[in-house]
C-alpha cells in the first residue's frame, strides 16, 4: 500500500469507530441512580403491596432446565409464575424467553453491552462478584424490605451477596457427593450399607478397587476444572483458594497436601490416565469401570434410567465436611429499563410457591426452607439436601472464573510430571495474584 492511501484509510476507519463508540458510550452510560427509583421502592416497602403501581414490559431470560420431554410442563410452570405475578401487577407485560445453554454468557454479555439485554437473567454464583464489581448488576437490598429473607437457605442466599450487597435471589441449589457402584462394592468385599465417611476410609476401599482393576473415582481435570474437582477436595482438607481477608492461600500446607493427594491418585492409577484433559468420566462409571463418581441429582437420574445399581454416599471428610453445590439465581442488570418490575418478578420467581413448582419439575433442591417439603419421603433427595447444607457455591471472588483455567494448567503440569505439587501450588497462587491485580 502506498503511505497516503493507508493513512487515509486509517483515518476513515478511526472516524467511523469514534462515531460508533460515541453513540455507544452515551447510551450505555450507567443510568444514574435516579432518586425517584429509590423513593418509590422505599415507599412501596413500607406501604402495602397493592399500592404499588408498576407497568411496562419486562423480558426474562431462562434456560432449558429440563429435557425436552418435560418442556410443556416447564412452560406451564412459567405461565403459573407469570399469572401469579400479573395478579399483583396486572399492567406489567412479562416475556419469558428460553435461551440455549450454549454460549449463554456470551449472549447475555453481548446483549447487555448493547443495552438491549433482558430485565431478568439467570446467574451462577462464581460470576456474581465479577459482574457486581463491573457494575453489571443492580443491587437489590433496597427492594427487599417486604421479602422474607430468613426463609432462604442462608448458604444459597450467600451466593448472591458480594461485599455485603445483595445482587441476586436463589431459586435452586444443587449438591454434589460421591455415588458408588454397588456391584464394585460387592466385588471388593465391602458393605454397601457402610459407605466411607472420611478420606481415610475411602482410601482403603480405593486401594482394594484399584487392585482389582477398577478406577477408584473420577477426576475430570479438563475444562470442568475446578468446582467439581479440586475445590471440594481442597475444602475437605481445610484449605481454600482465597481466604476471607482476600489473601491467596491455595499454596499453604493444606493446599499443597491436596495437590499431592491428586498427584498420588493419578500416579497410582486411582483416576484414569486421561484425567489431565478429560471433561467427563461419567461414561467410565456408567460402564462399570469406576468405584465412585462425584455427581449430582442429574447423574442420579441417568443412573436410574439406565437401571444401574448404585448407592449414594457422602462427600468425604478430611479436616472438614464440605462439598461443592452450585446455586441458581436470578438477577437484574443495572441497565434494565424497568428495574422495579424486574425486581418484583425475581421476588415472585423465588417465593415459596414458585420454588415448589420449579424444583418439583427440575429435581433441584429449593433454595427456600418452606419449599423443601416437596421432597418429603424421597430418601435420595433428602440426602442431597443434607449435603447441600455443607456445600459451598464456589470461590466468591471477581476472579473466580478467570483463575480456573490457570489453576487447571498448573494441575495438568503437575500430573504430567513437569511440576511438583509444591511448585504447581505456588505457581497457581502466583497466577491468582496476578489476576487479582489486573484491572
Amino acid at each position: 500500500m502506498t503511505k497516503k492511501t493507508s493513512a487515509l484509510l486509517l483515518t476513515v476507519m478511526f472516524l467511523f469507530s469514534v462515531l460508533l463508540a460515541g453513540c455507544g458510550g452515551k447510551d450505555s452510560a450507567p443510568p444514574a441512580p435516579a432518586p425517584g427509583d429509590t423513593n418509590s421502592s422505599n415507599a412501596s416497602s413500607d406501604g402495602n403491596q397493592s399500592a404499588k403501581k408498576l407497568s411496562g414490559n419486562i423480558t426474562v431470560w431462562v434456560h432449558p432446565y429440563v429435557g425436552d420431554e418435560l418442556k410443556d410442563e416447564m412452560n406451564v410452570v412459567w405461565d403459573q409464575i407469570v399469572s401469579s405475578y400479573n395478579s399483583k401487577y396486572p399492567d406489567v407485560k412479562v416475556k419469558i424467553e428460553e435461551i440455549p445453554w450454549k454460549n449463554r454468557e456470551q449472549k447475555i454479555l453481548t446483549a447487555l453491552a448493547a443495552n438491549n439485554g433482558p430485565d431478568v437473567f439467570y446467574q451462577l454464583p462464581d460470576q456474581i462478584p465479577q459482574f457486581a464489581t463491573k457494575n453489571v448488576l443492580e443491587p437489590l437490598d433496597s427492594y427487599m424490605d417486604d421479602n422474607n429473607m430468613e426463609d432462604f437457605n442462608q448458604g444459597a442466599l450467600a451466593a448472591g451477596i458480594y461485599e455485603n450487597n445483595l445482587y441476586a435471589l436463589p431459586i435452586l441449589q444443587e449438591a454434589q457427593t460421591l455415588i458408588y457402584n454397588t456391584d464394585i462394592i460387592q466385588a471388593i468385599g465391602e458393605d454397601p450399607a457402610k459407605l466411607p465417611a472420611t478420606w481415610d476410609e475411602f482410601n482403603v476401599w480405593a486401594e482394594k478397587a484399584v487392585a482389582q482393576g477398577f478406577f477408584a473415582r473420577d477426576f475430570p481435570g479438563g475444562i470442568a476444572c475446578c468446582n467439581s474437582t479440586l475445590y471440594p477436595m481442597l475444602w475437605q482438607q481445610g484449605g481454600d483458594v482465597i481466604d476471607s481477608g482476600g489473601k491467596v492461600i491455595i499454596n499453604n500446607d493444606k493446599g499443597v497436601a491436596t495437590f499431592q493427594m491428586i498427584k498420588d491418585m493419578y500416579d497410582n492409577g486411582w483416576i484414569p490416565k486421561d484425567s489431565i484433559s478429560n471433561q467427563d468420566q461419567f461414561p467410565e462409571f456408567l460402564s462399570g469401570k469406576m468405584l465412585a463418581i462425584w455427581g449430582s441429582g442429574y447423574s442420579l437420574g441417568i443412573l436410574k434410567e439406565e437401571g444401574k445399581n448404585f448407592v449414594l454416599g457422602s462427600p468425604l471428610r478430611g479436616q472438614e465436611e464440605s462439598s461443592f453445590g452450585t446455586v441458581g439465581l436470578f438477577a437484574v442488570p443495572s441497565n434494565s429499563k424497568n428495574k422495579e418490575a424486574a425486581v418484583e418478578f425475581i421476588k415472585e420467581l423465588t417465593n415459596t410457591e414458585s420454588q415448589k413448582l420449579f424444583n418439583q419439575l427440575t429435581k433441584y433442591i429449593p433454595a427456600r426452607q418452606s419449599a423443601a417439603g416437596i421432597y418429603d419421603g424421597d430418601e435420595e433427595m433428602q440426602k442431597f439436601i443434607e449435603v447441600a447444607a455443607v456445600s459451598r457455591p464456589g470461590v466468591m471472588s471477581p476472579v473466580a472464573r478467570t483463575i480456573m483455567p490457570k489453576i487447571q494448567a498448573e494441575i495438568s503440569a503437575m500430573l504430567e510430571g513437569s511440576k511438583t505439587p509444591q511448585t504447581a501450588a505456588d505457581d497457581a497462587a502466583k497466577a491468582i495474584e496476578e489476576e487479582l491485580n489486573k484491572r
Binding site: M1, T2, T5, L9, L20, C23, G24, T59, H63, P64, Y65, V66, G67, D68, E69, E97, E98, I99, P100, W101, K102, N103, Q106, K107, L109, T110, A111, A113, A114, N115, N116, F282, P283, E284, L286, S287, K289, Y298, I302, E305, E306
Partner: protein
C-alpha cells in the same frame, strides 16, 4: 486413454482407504441417532444400536417449532446464497478482469478485514443492529452475508485465468461489460460460482453462533439454534446425533446438486487455440 490394471488397483485401494477414514464420523452420527442413549459410555462400540429406534427423531420432529426452525433456516440460507452467487460472480469479475485505480488496495483491504476474528466483532455489530432495530429479525443474519470476500476471492482467481482475448474480441463486437459478464464470464466461471454456492450454503445453514446471539425468540431460531435449545446443560448424545443428522441432509443434497457443475470444468482447452 486407458489405465493399467495395477494402477487401477492402487487407485481403488487409496480411494477406499480414504473413504473409510472420512466416512467414520458420519456413520457414527447416523448409528448414534438411532438409539436412545442420553450419555455415552466408555464401551468403544456403544454407538452401534442394539435396539434401533426413531425415538430421537420423534422428539425433534415432534417439536411444534420444528417447521418454523426449518423455514427460518431456509430463509437465512437461500437469500444469502443466491445473493452471494451473483455478487461474488460480479465482484470476482471486477477484481479479476477489470483494471481500475485502487483495485488492489480495495481488494486486499477487504481480505485483511476478514482476518480479524469474528468472535470479537459480535459486540459492535450487536450494538449497531440494536440501534437499527435488527435484533431478532432476519436482517441481522442475512444482510451482512449478502456477499463474502472469500467468495469474491475464489471467483477472482478463476477469472484471472480466463484468457484476455475472449473479452477483447467481445469488445470489438461492441458488447458492453454487462453483456460480457453475463454472456461470457458467468458461464465460464460456473465451477467457481458453484463452489461459492456450495460453501455459502454450508456456512449459512450450519451457522450456530450468529443466530444464537442475534435471535432471541424461539420462533425466529434456525434449526441449529433450535437443536441447541432442546439440550439441557448436560446435553443428550442421541438427540445431538439425530439433530445433526437432520440438519446434515439439506447441505449434503446441495453438494450433490452443485457437484455436476464442478465436473463440467471450464472448457478451456478449446478456447486458447
Amino acid at each position: 486413454m486407458s489405465i493399467s490394471l495395477q494402477k487401477r488397483i492402487v487407485l481403488y485401494i487409496l480411494l477406499i482407504a480414504f473413504a473409510i477414514i472420512l466416512f467414520f464420523p458420519f456413520a457414527m452420527m447416523i448409528l448414534g441417532s438411532l438409539q436412545k442413549v442420553e450419555r455415552a459410555t466408555s464401551d468403544p462400540l456403544f454407538w452401534i444400536p442394539t435396539d434401533p429406534t426413531l425415538y430421537n427423531f420423534d422428539r425433534i420432529l415432534g417439536r411444534s417449532e420444528f417447521v418454523s426452525w426449518i423455514k427460518n433456516s431456509l430463509v437465512l440460507t437461500i437469500i444469502p446464497v443466491i445473493s452471494q452467487i451473483f455478487l461474488c460472480g460480479v465482484l470476482g469479475y471486477i477484481f479479476g478482469k477489470k483494471k481500475f485505480p485502487g483495485q488492489e488496495i480495495i481488494f486486499w483491504t477487504m481480505m485483511a478485514v476478514v482476518m480479524v476474528p469474528s468472535q470479537l466483532l459480535i459486540i459492535p455489530k450487536y450494538i449497531m443492529f440494536s440501534k437499527m432495530g435488527w435484533i431478532n429479525t432476519y436482517a441481522a443474519i442475512i444482510v451482512p452475508e449478502l456477499w463474502t470476500i472469500m467468495g469474491v476471492f475464489l471467483v477472482r482467481q478463476f477469472m484471472m485465468s480466463i484468457p484476455k482475448e475472449m473479452e477483447e474480441a467481445a469488445y470489438m463486437d461492441g458488447a458492453n461489460d454487462f453483456t460480457i459478464f453475463f454472456r461470457i464470464m458467468l458461464p465460464l466461471a460456473k465451477p467457481a460460482i458453484a463452489t461459492v454456492g456450495t460453501f455459502g450454503f454450508i456456512a449459512c445453514w450450519n451457522d450456530l453462533f450468529t443466530p444464537l446471539i442475534f435471535m432471541t425468540s424461539e420462533s425466529m431460531y434456525p434449526i441449529t439454534v433450535g437443536l441447541a435449545s432442546i439440550l439441557t446443560k448436560e446435553g443428550n448424545f442421541g438427540i445431538e446425533m439425530a439433530g445433526s443428522a437432520i440438519s446434515f441432509i439439506p447441505t449434503f443434497l446441495i453438494f450433490i446438486f452443485f457437484q455436476r457443475y464442478f465436473t463440467d470444468g471450464i472448457a478451456m482447452s478449446g478456447i486458447k487455440s
